[in-house]
Symmetry: C2
Subunit: 314 residues, 2 copies
C-alpha cells in the first residue's frame, strides 16, 4: 500500500460532492505543515450540472473508482457524506483519516481517532472554504469556482432552507475569487442540470439518489431539478416503471422521487412501495396516482428526510 | 423545555472531560455571534486529580445530572466522548447540537446535521483551546488552567503516545495564561490523582472506567495512575473480587484493569472474564494469576483499545 490518500464525495456525486472533494484534496496537498499525498477520485460519473461547472473553470472530472484497496490505497477522506452505504464499496476495510461534511451522522464509525469537521451549513464546500482561511492557503481561481458551484448546487442559489446565515458571505467571497457573477453563473449552472429531456427514465431516477434506512425499512430517495414540473410528469408512467424495477433489483421497500422546481421552490413527490401512508403522514398530503405536490419543499435533507424519519418511527 | 444547552464530558469524568466541558460551555456563552445559553454539567463526581485542579484555579465542580429531559433540557453538547454508552442516560431522546472530541467515533448517530469537531490530538481541551483562538474569545486564567489540566491528565504530562506534535505548544501557551509552571503544576496534579490508599477496591476500579464492545463482547476497561505499581498489587485479591462483582452486576464478559506507573510510563494489566486468550494475544504476553506487565503502555486509547479490538475481531 502507498501513502496515497483518496479524497471523495458520495456515490452518485452531485456538484458539492465533486467540488468539496477536489478543493479539499488540493488544500491538504498544499498546506505548509503536514501536507498529505492526496488524490481526488469520484464514486461515479459527474452529472450535467457538475460537467458545466468543470467546463466553466477548465477542469477535468476526477477519475471514477469502485474500491480503494484495489487501487492500492488504504486510507481515505470523505467529503459531503459520512454514512457508509453512501461511500466507497470497501469503506469498512480502510482507515478513515478525515471527514468534512454537513449532513447528519449515521451508520458511521471508526476504529481510531480521526479528523472530523461537520457543520450544519449549506454545503460541504462552505466548510472546506473556511479551512482554506484557517490554514492560510491561497485559493486558485478554478478551485474557488468549484467550491462556489458546490454551494450554489446544494442551496439552489442560496434559496434552500439549508442555507446557513454565513453562506451568503462565503458565496460572495468565492464568486469574487472565481471571477464570476454569482446570480448569472448560478442560474446558468442550475439550468444546465435541468436538461432532463435527453435522459432515460432510469437515468432520471439516479441523477441524485441516496439510500436511507427508516426504522428498518430501506428507502431510496432521488431528486431532480427542473424549471417545468408538468413536463416531467408527462413521463410519469415511464418513471414509475423505472422506480419499480429499481426497487425490485435493489430490495428497497420504498422509492421517493422529488421533482423540484428551482425557480418557484416547490416539489412534486412520487412515492412507490410499501409505505404510502407513512409518506402521506410525513408531508400531510394525499397521494393521487402515487404523487402529490409539496409546496415550498426544495431540500431533501431538511424538508424530506427528517419528516420521513419521524413518520416511519411513529 | 428551555433554550438551555447542557455541555458535559463522559461518565466517570476525568480531568479532560471536566476541563473541556467547562471551557467549551464558557466559550459558547461568550462568542460575539451566535452565543448559546450553555450550562456545564457532569455525569458523575469529579476524581481527586480533577478536584486538585479545580481547587488550584478557584473553581467549583459542575453539578451532577443523570438526565437532560428531567432537568427540562432537550439539547446537548458532548465533549471528550461521542459513544452513546459513555454519555447521558437519555442521549437517544435529545438533540445533539455539537461534539468536541479526540476519540474514535462509534455508536454515535444524529437525526439532523450538527457541529462536530473531532481531531486526533492529545486532549479534547486542546481542541477547545484552538476554538478559542479561532473565535477570538479571551481566555480567563482559571479556564486556561482547566484546559491545561485536561491536556496534562490525558497525556500524562505530554509523555503518552497520544500526545500530538501540536500539544506541546498548546501546553506552553495555556501554562502561561494560567500562570503556572507546566512541569511543577503538572506533576503535582498527576500525583494528586494517585492517592489510592484511601480508596476501596470498588472505588479503584471505577475512578476512570469505560465500557466497550468488541465483536459483540461487552468489556469494561478501567485505569488508575500510581507512582508505585507493587503497592497497588498488594491489594490484588480485593481488586479481583470487586472486578468480578462488577462484571456480574453489569453483565460484562471481560474486565481489564490498567495500573499505570506515571513516572516510568509502564502498566500492569489485570484481566478477568471470558477471553484471557484474546487479551494475551492482544498484548503478546502471558497472564499469571490473571495479570501481566505491559512495558511502555500508558494510553488506554492508543495502546490498549485498538489492540483488543483487533484481537477480538480475529
Amino acid at each position: 500500500m502507498s501513502d496515497k490518500i483518496f479524497v471523495f464525495g458520495h456515490q452518485n456525486p452531485d456538484t458539492d460532492a465533486i467540488g468539496s472533494s477536489m478543493s479539499y484534496a488540493y488544500l491538504r496537498k498544499n498546506v505548509a505543515f503536514g501536507a498529505l499525498n492526496t488524490e481526488v477520485v469520484a464514486l461515479g460519473e459527474v452529472n450535467e450540472e457538475t460537467a458545466f461547472a468543470l467546463k466553466t473553470f477548465g477542469l477535468e472530472a476526477p477519475r471514477v473508482v469502485k474500491s480503494a484497496k484495489e487501487e492500492g490505497v488504504d486510507t481515505v477522506i470523505l467529503t459531503d457524506h459520512n454514512e457508509f452505504q453512501q461511500s466507497i464499496s470497501d469503506i469498512e476495510e480502510v482507515t478513515i483519516f478525515g471527514v468534512v461534511d454537513h449532513h447528519r451522522v449515521d451508520n458511521f464509525h471508526t476504529a481510531v481517532p480521526l479528523f472530523m469537521d461537520v457543520q450544519p451549513v449549506g454545503s460541504a464546500s462552505s466548510i472546506v472554504y473556511r479551512q482554506y482561511l484557517a490554514n492560510g492557503v491561497e485559493i486558485p481561481t478554478a478551485i474557488a469556482g468549484m467550491m462556489l458551484s458546490g454551494l450554489i448546487s446544494d442551496t439552489l442559489l442560496l434559496k434552500s432552507p439549508t442555507t446557513h446565515p454565513t453562506d451568503f458571505k462565503v458565496a460572495e467571497d468565492l464568486a469574487k475569487i472565481a471571477g464570476v457573477d454569482l446570480e448569472e453563473y448560478g442560474l446558468a449552472m442550475l439550468k444546465a442540470g435541468t436538461n432532463l429531456s435527453t435522459k432515460t427514465a432510469e437515468e432520471l431516477i439516479d441523477i441524485d439518489a441516496k439510500t436511507f434506512e427508516f426504522s428498518g425499512s430501506k428507502a431510496r430517495i432521488a431528486q431532480v431539478n427542473t424549471v417545468d414540473i408538468p413536463e416531467v410528469l408527462e413521463r410519469l408512467t415511464e418513471i414509475k416503471s423505472a422506480m419499480t424495477a429499481y426497487m425490485t433489483a435493489g430490495g428497497f421497500d420504498d422509492f421517493i422521487f422529488m421533482i423540484t422546481d428551482i425557480v418557484n421552490s416547490n416539489s412534486e413527490i412520487i412515492e412507490l412501495g410499501s409505505h404510502p401512508e407513512k409518506v402521506e403522514k410525513a408531508f400531510n398530503f394525499s397521494l393521487k396516482d402515487d404523487h402529490a405536490f409539496l409546496a415550498g419543499a426544495v431540500s431533501r435533507k431538511k424538508q424530506v428526510v427528517p419528516q420521513l424519519t419521524e413518520s416511519f418511527e411513529a
